[in-house]
């Protein structure tokens, strides 16, 4: 298991390297080249010259790349020009990350908590009403654009019914302490329960919208996987041993059926981050997604490069955790 972990970590480095090369190339390919891209159109000659020096643009390509890597490792990605002008891009990212993380985690939680049991029961009663209903739902879930669903939820529950807040992360009138930037967690840590509850309510609609696609996928994989496992010989063996229904379900069916599901959950973090960009826009949440769309509209490439690099690394890290979880469940993987 240790060897497996170490090797996995080593591969993470390879991804980081390839990613940094792609990102380096991307910056150079931007319209106007990296200097205009990072400083914006209205930069002075002086600051341009300074940046050329700093990036080593007058030096050979491999030196430029090396400088890029050095700065990236120290978290220096330049200064934001459009999203929060004047603030270092890394800081913009760090400020906004908790909002996105909070939203994504809740959405994933919703998708797993609803999708896995539903998929399990649908698989056990193949062709039943629950099965058919869930399949229909999951097919439609994939066909609906996330941001439209977000609008729809907002329209029905926030505007028409007024049951839940329509935008933002917390009521402005609430004077809450924000130590970690995770508003729900902040409220719980400081004992400001009403603040935490308020932040949670603000999260519900966006999380529900964001969870549709991961839900649809997780549901379908769970269902298919349960169907496959129920056909396996070892389930018959378990039944021949007269084991109780609970042991058969838990130890023999679910444990094996969860293997592909775990992988799928990891893969869904990508879709989740994409969806978060759109959902944040709809609900006016000041997260990474909003920074991305603003950064694109205002051509703030300093922020864009941090966001791209960071989200890709998050995705890879999450999948590393997923792989390790998989290996923890499946002994066959540990030795390879």
């Amino acid at each position: 298991m240790l060897r497996y972990t170490v090797r996995r970590l080593g591969q993470l480095v390879i991804v980081a390297v390839v990613l940094s090369i792609l990102l380096f190339g991307w910056l150079r390919a931007l319209p106007g080249g990296p200097v205009s891209a990072l400083l914006g159109e209205r930069a002075t000659e002086e600051s341009r010259a300074q940046l050329v020096e700093q990036l080593g643009l007058n030096q050979p390509l491999h030196v430029q790349y090396w400088k890029f890597v050095q700065r990236a490792v120290t978290g220096d990605f330049g200064v934001s020009t459009g999203v929060q002008p004047g603030t270092p891009a890394m800081e913009v990212f760090l400020q906004r990350m908790p909002a996105t993380l909070e939203l994504s985690v809740l959405a994933l939680l919703l998708a797993v908590v609803v999708g896995v049991p539903l998929g399990y029961f649908a698989g056990r009663r193949q062709g039943g009403w629950l099965d058919n209903l869930s399949i229909t739902w999951s097919l439609i879930g994939v066909a609906v654009p996330v941001f439209f669903l977000a609008f729809l939820l907002k329209y029905v529950f926030a505007i028409e019914l007024g049951a839940l807040p329509a935008s933002g992360r917390q009521e402005v009138s609430i004077d809450a302490t924000h130590a970690t930037g995770f508003y729900v967690l902040d409220g719980m840590l400081t004992g400001e329960w009403d603040a935490a509850w308020n932040a949670f309510l603000h999260l519900l609609l966006p999380a529900a919208a964001l969870s549709t696609i991961p839900f649809a996928v997780i549901f379908r994989i769970t269902r298919a996987s349960v169907l496959d496992v129920l056909e396996e010989d070892f389930v018959r063996t378990a039944r021949s041993k007269g084991l109780g229904a609970r042991v058969i379900r838990g130890r023999h069916v679910l444990r094996n059926a969860m293997l592909p599901v775990v992988t799928t959950i990891g893969l869904q973090t990508g879709a989740l981050l994409s969806g978060a960009v759109l959902t944040e826009q709809v609900f006016n949440i000041t997260g990474i997604g909003q920074a991305l769309s603003l950064g694109f509209q205002r051509q703030d490439y300093a922020v864009l490069q941090v966001v791209i690099l960071a989200t890709a690394m998050v995705y890879v890290l999450v999948n590393l955790v997923v792989d390790l979880t998989y290996a923890a469940i499946d002994p066959r993987l540990r030795e390879r």
Partner: protein, 333 residues
């Protein structure tokens, strides 16, 4: 009374939009304690379905099981699921054909063995663990302490089957069903596993139902043999009687198609011509008649009934091989 009584057991597969298939049709036999009874036939003859029906392991949907299976006089077929689960693994258990797929890949061997004892013998996890180690030792797995923690993919094919046997014997069942227990194994391992089964049955007095297509296995293990064809028993006899003189042409054909060391060189094997697909339905006559070298016109017109021909010997044939001809019946001899 016999320990296990199977009477008129029939299994039909009923599928929507497809014709109903009769897999097992009126099979009856007895198994006495401490005896080994073989169910023999080609693949598709219904022997595996019979064993699954006895164990109550057929899928509920799409199958119709009728007849009677009595263990110690208790009817198993109409037992509620809960009650059946209380007896499966304790009074009766099963060893399957493919040990690799029959073991759970993500649960340690030890847990898979001890869970039977925790369930049926009320043991604590710790005690069951100790028992499991003893069981592994008994089925001939060295270093059982280490093996308990291992997973099925870490064991060899033979060891997997030993582990599966240990699992089946954990509660010293009164009936053990072995469904082609050696088919998936290397030839050298096959003999070891058969010896092991024979020893264990002799030690514990467990009744063994041996499902196989391999007459070599039958000759090595069984006391009584039932030959199945197309879901019905066509001949049933004590092992010695059967091998000394098969009366049904199908049994004779099975024997003739097995290579033996004691036949003179140059003799060809005599496979049974045709395949199961040539069968006619039992309702129209003898299902085997299209492939039978001894078939008479009436064989495809009237269904032969199974009849006792001497003590402990039953036959379903219109034109059986005569007793005195038993030794000359091997074709090309």
């Amino acid at each position: 009374m016999a320990l296990l009584q199977v009477r008129d057991l029939s299994v039909r597969f009923v599928r929507k939009q497809e014709p109903t298939v009769s897999a097992v049709d009126g099979v009856s036999f007895d198994v006495q304690a401490g005896r080994t009874v073989g169910l023999v036939g080609e693949s598709g003859c219904g022997k595996s379905v019979t064993s699954l029906a006895i164990m109550g392991l057929l899928p509920g949907r799409g199958t119709e099981v009728s007849g009677s299976v009595r263990l110690d006089g208790d009817e198993l077929l109409r037992l509620p699921r809960r009650e059946l689960d209380r007896r499966r693994g304790r009074d009766m258990s099963m060893v399957f054909q493919d040990p690799l797929t029959s073991l759970n890949p993500v649960v340690p061997i030890g847990v898979q063995i001890s869970e039977v004892m925790e369930r049926h013998r009320g043991m604590s996890r710790r005690v069951a663990r100790g028992e499991a180690a003893k069981l592994l030792e008994r089925v001939g797995i060295p270093d059982p302490g280490r093996r308990l923690k291992e997973y099925s993919h870490q064991l060899s094919g033979g060891m997997r089957q030993r582990a599966l046997i240990a699992m089946a014997l954990a509660c010293e069942p009164r009936v053990l069903v072995a469904d082609e227990p050696t088919t998936a194994l290397d030839v050298t391992i096959q003999a070891q596993i058969l010896n092991l089964l024979r020893e264990l049955v002799a030690e514990t007095g467990t009744a063994l139902i041996m499902i196989t297509h391999d007459l070599g296995v039958v000759a090595g293990t069984c006391d009584e043999v039932n030959v199945l064809y197309a879901g019905r028993i066509v001949e049933s006899a004590e092992r010695h009687e059967l091998f000394a003189g098969p009366r049904h042409p199908y049994t004779a054909g099975l024997m003739a198609s097995v290579p033996r060391l004691d036949t003179p060189r140059g003799n060809r094997l005599a496979p049974i011509s045709g395949s199961v697909e040539d069968n006619i339905p039992w309702e129209d006559g003898c299902a085997f008649s299209p492939r039978c070298s001894r078939a008479l016109p009436r064989c495809s017109e009237r269904t032969p009934e199974i009849e006792p021909i001497e003590a402990g010997r039953w036959l379903r044939c219109h034109n059986p091989i005569e007793e005195h001809a038993r030794n000359t019946e091997r074709p090309h001899d």
